[in-house]
Amino acid sequence: MTLRVLTVDDSRTILAMLHHTLSNAGFEVLQAEDGQQGLDVLKNESVDVVITDINMPVMDGIEFIKNVRATGQHNSLPILILTTETSQDKRDQGKAAGGTGWIVKPFDPEKLISVINRVVH
């Protein structure tokens, strides 16, 4: 079955690259430009894994993850944090919010796929 990935990022460039990499790898890709849009997508669609940026307008990635987990319906949904931050601090924040794992930008396509495979069945 095709896995569905929701990518949340306010940078069109990153969204485009994610879309390219993921759809080439056979994933179905849904996209949102900020956390709020991401939540809206999750309301109506079921996805297998989420990849989210941290710095975004309207609702940032940390808030987004908190909100996703708060609904209680997505306890087992893996959420990967895509970030330029290499600092442990940001990672800890993401983790505390309920993030499953992280990917450091700029991402390497192979690594990205392997990270996704690491968190989804």
Binding site: T13, A70, T86, K95, V119
Partner: protein, 762 residues
């Protein structure tokens, strides 16, 4: 690689938007709005530029953006105060970022130390404010070192290096045949973050051969069962030729801190005491019976569903039955959905769930633009639609033209259909044009800053007023507008506005005003740059024009003609070419740029009062209302927007002026005449008295009378560029394909007038 090129194009597109956004934000910040919204937006813009730059390996850009971003981060959380000096530094930094982006786009390299001065200012500012705290060294270290780190597209494994160094003296690869023993005890947080032991085992299985033993001693009685608790831990024996401790640690990277992992060499002895490899009989039975419950029973018990935890426990139970992990992977699947599909039991603790959605709703209301949704479309695609709609408009008008009276009388239904078609086509055309339309704001927003800079450089006091920045124009027109506008505003500030002392001396406010406005006027957009400066010094302009041979010594132009002279090629009014408006470009370049997009420029100046430059631009570049005329047997078109009236030659009265040119007297006013057949070297097919005069108005209400053989009628045409398809032709603004397939050239009225003026003047 074309994919990469596409991404790069997207990136640069995005960058230009972000840079415009930066301009806007800083304009507001300069106005005194220093709220966190502004700063966050600025931070995000730089962050996005950096993020993309990293992906393409524009390392210099990343380096600078990172330092800038760090400063912004400090400003954002209040560690550095946003003083005027810091704001000014940021504005300079924006320019440097823009330069880096441009260099990256053109594939050029900027000097290595480009922006290094600003960069060290960032560092100094950031350090200065935290100098009392003990992380001063960390900070500078972070700024410098992270640049290198940024480009390594690898997962940084946390906490692995230390552990490996401390725990193991021997290199991990030493004993290639040895197996590893991993004692893995998850904490409850591991499940809360949607990590799943099964997946970790799968990862380990990818490294080498594994066998998993579950420890179930912790499993409680069903009555005490806490769905969120963790009752299970495992010992994994992993063997393989290339297994290093680091690779094992990497598998557990995401769950670092959410579990206890003890890794040891030698598969035989797990590091932690094994309480019971086979669980207590009774507990085991309990668990098994729990697993055996039907859905209904579980629902009625309302207690026991933990999606990931339960999933994880399935292999544990089965493991006891002697199955190996790899077999299990297949068996677990059917069991998992039953458990996972179920919602969490209502009795389960759900702490912050209630508050969060409300907050989200509020945010939705306050932040979302009023329900306007948009998509991004490649401009090429829109262009294609615009072009096709243009062709449709023409075909439609051709059809209408071919309906003669007999046909009209016979096929009334057909006529009605054609009328509806005409209406719909027009509506379609308007809608398509609206897609390409965009507020001039994007160009206007760059100007306040330009004026500020000019004021500083010239020591003048200048205010900029902008009006009508929401006026919409075709995107292609907007893109072409930036340079001419910049140049015109430079002109106003450099030559127009006087120094504060001079202004005060002549009784003006010491602040000069440059007003930039946009408005729609019929099928055109007017963009006006107006200043209340000294006006054009006509004596000097004329003198200069005479010196340069642009105007013949015996010719005395009118004031308006003199004003227009600033557009003459090679003309510059500055006594010395200043670094502000000079730059080796004159107003002639402005004029030719504007003409390229089908517009015109008109200057009007009043001595001592100021100068007004008006750009008249077409709403769209694609479709033009024209009058079709005949010259020497071929069709030509004249833009309808410039036509005032048509006169039959027999009724017109021509005169000759001493220089030999013909003029036409229209209601007491003498108008220059351009005989198009003569001008284009075509043999006129009709007698002079049977010809027509098309009276056109050019810029500055200057009229020009075009003599043509015949007038065919009005219609709409789709403009095709002659320059792109052939080459630039003097007096011709472009070409078009008529409904009958013939090609017609579009007469460049303004261009004709200018050359006519020069011919007469020479």
């Amino acid at each position: 690689m074309s994919d990469l090129d596409d991404f790069k194009a997207t990136y640069f597109d995005e960058c230009s938007e972000l840079l415009t956004e930066l301009e806007e934000q800083f304009a507001a910040i300069e106005e005194g709005e220093r709220g966190s919204d502004r700063l966050n937006a600025v931070f995000r813009a730089i962050h996005s530029i950096k993020g993309g730059a990293g992906a393409f390996g524009f390392s210099a850009l990343v380096g600078f953006a990172h330092a800038y971003e760090t400063l912004l981060d400090y400003v954002r959380d209040g560690r550095v105060e946003l003083t005027d000096e810091v704001a000014a530094l940021c504005i300079r930094a924006n320019d440097i970022v823009a330069d880096y982006v441009k260099a990256a786009q053109l594939g050029e390299e900027l000097p290595l130390d480009y922006g290094s001065e600003e960069k060290s200012r960032f560092d100094a500012l950031a350090r200065g404010d935290t100098s009392t705290s003990d992380d001063e060294d960390d900070l500078s270290g972070e700024i410098v070192e992270e640049f290198d780190l940024e480009f390594v597209p690898v997962m940084v494994s946390i906490g692995t290096d230390d552990a490996s160094d401390d725990t193991f003296d021997a290199p991990p690869m030493e004993d290639v045949d040895g197996s590893w023993s991993i004692r893995f005890t998850p904490h409850r947080a591991l499940y809360a973050r949607a990590n799943d032991p099964l997946l970790l085992f799968r990862e380990l299985a990818a490294l080498g051969e594994i066998s998993v033993t579950a420890h179930l001693a912790e499993i409680s009685q069903l009555a005490d069962f806490d769905p969120f608790a963790v009752y299970c831990s495992w010992t994994i024996t992993l063997s393989g030729p290339d297994v290093s401790e680091i690779s094992i640690r990497e598998v557990f990277e995401f769950v670092d801190g959410d579990c206890e992992i003890i890794i040891s060499r030698g598969g035989a002895a797990p590091a932690a005491p094994v309480k019971a490899i086979v669980a207590d009989e009774e507990e085991d039975a309990d668990f098994a019976s729990l697993l055996a419950l039907t859905e209904e029973e579980m629902a009625s018990k309302k207690a026991v569903v933990v999606p990931s935890a339960a999933k994880a426990e399935v292999p544990a139970a089965a493991e006891d039955a002697g199955l190996s992990f790899l077999d299990l992977a297949a068996e677990i699947k059917p069991a998992a959905p039953v458990v996972a599909a179920r919602p969490v039991a209502p009795t389960a603790p759900k702490p912050p769930a209630a508050a969060a959605p409300t907050a989200a709703n509020e945010q939705e209301e306050s932040h979302r633009p009023s329900g306007v949704q948009s998509i991004r479309v490649d401009l090429d695609k829109v262009d294609r639609v615009v072009n096709m709609v243009g062709e449709l408009v023409i075909t439609q008008s051709m059809l209408t033209q071919q309906m003669d009276e007999t046909l009209r009388a016979r096929y009334t239904e057909l006529v009605r259909g054609l009328e509806v078609l005409a209406q719909t086509t027009r509506g379609l055309q308007d809608s398509v044009m609206a897609i390409r339309a965009q507020p001039v704001k994007s160009v206007f927003s760059r100007m306040p800053r330009l004026v500020r800079e000019l004021a500083i450089k010239t020591g003048k006091k200048i205010k900029l007023e902008t009006i009508g920045e929401n006026t919409e124009i075709d995107k292609t027109v907007i893109e072409q507008l930036s340079d001419p506008l910049t140049h015109m505003i430079r002109n106003s500030a450099d030559h127009g506005i006087e120094s504060p002392e001079k202004r005060l001396a002549v009784g003006k406010n010491e602040f000069g005003t440059v007003r930039l406005s946009a408005e729609q006027a019929g099928g055109n957009i007017l963009i006006i740059v107006e200043d209340d400066g000294a006006g054009i010094n006509r004596d000097r302009v004329l003198q200069l024009a005479r010196d340069k041979g642009i105007v013949a010594p015996d010719f005395t132009p009118t004031d308006e003609q003199i004003d227009q002279l600033i557009f003459a090629p090679g003309f510059s009014t500055a006594d010395a070419v200043s670094d502000i408006s000079g730059r080796g470009v004159g107003m002639d370049v402005v004029l030719s740029n504007i003409k390229k997009i089908g517009g015109s420029v008109h200057v009007r100046s009043r001595t001592g009062k100021g100068t007004r430059m008006t750009l008249r631009l077409p709403l769209t570049l694609a479709v033009l209302d024209v009058m079709l005329v005949r010259l020497g047997g071929s069709p030509y078109v004249v833009p309808l927007s410039s036509i005032v009236e048509t006169i039959q030659c027999s009724r017109a009265s021509f005169d000759r002026v001493p220089s030999g040119g013909r003029v036409l007297q229209v209601r007491g006013e003498y108008v220059q005449v351009a005989d198009l057949c003569q001008r284009f070297g075509l043999p006129s097919e009709v007698k002079p008295d049977d010809q027509f005069v098309v009276l056109c108005e050019t810029e500055g209400s200057q009229k020009l009378a075009l003599v043509v053989d015949d007038i065919i009628g009005q219609q709409q045409v789709v403009i095709k560029s002659l320059e792109e398809n052939f080459e630039r032709v003097e007096g011709i603004a472009g070409g078009t394909i008529l409904g009958d397939g013939n090609v017609a050239l579009i007469v460049d009225v303004q261009g004709l007038r200018t050359t006519q003026l020069h011919q007469n003047a020479a």
